[in-house]
Symmetry: C2
Subunit: 125 residues, 2 copies
Amino acid sequence: MPPLKYGPDGLIPAIVQDAASKRVLMMAWMNETSLQMTLQTARMHYWSRSRKQLWSKGETSGHVQRVVRFAIDCDADTLLFEVEQTGGACHTGYASCFFQTFTPDGTALAINEAKVFDPETKYAR
Amino acid sequence: MPPLKYGPDGLIPAIVQDAASKRVLMMAWMNETSLQMTLQTARMHYWSRSRKQLWSKGETSGHVQRVVRFAIDCDADTLLFEVEQTGGACHTGYASCFFQTFTPDGTALAINEAKVFDPETKYAR
């Protein structure tokens, strides 16, 4: 692997895409440790900027992301992971965090999909 | 549109995906002005962190990106644009900036595609 260009905060953005449908599921941040954990386990691990801690996707919800393959971009400053997602990627219950879409001029479109899980029961307590 | 959460540098990441193939093409940064320009023209505009200036995709190469639709994620801190890409998105000549892929443990895979344009002639002088 080429050396990666982490930002001044030591983080690199990781785009996550469903390996089968190619839908973009989420974007989160990795530091060097979370990337190492991801490569070692083939399960997505991130760095939470708000909680300032390592987290693994699914640790609370069970909605883990198994890595199928990944790519590093031409500038080595962005990662793209293709994953198999258990349940939904979004804490709101939707399959993808990008469920709210807009026309090119910024008009909101109706959300045309159902939640894949109930966040109330999933994240309660 | 909901209010967006720009970072402390006034920027928000914009993931760009081919509207037809769903391939992720690139990730770049927008400030408020570049987003406004994008919405007004339906052509992708970004903020260059290295050159510290607004740029429109294709201004040098002709490889413009027409916006088909876009999404704002659940945290309102990441944008996802689906576009029609003229030519290739990557300055190296590949269709996508994510042309170098790896197995889940970080082993590089052979690049299994040809460049869609010659960057030497495209960006020369």
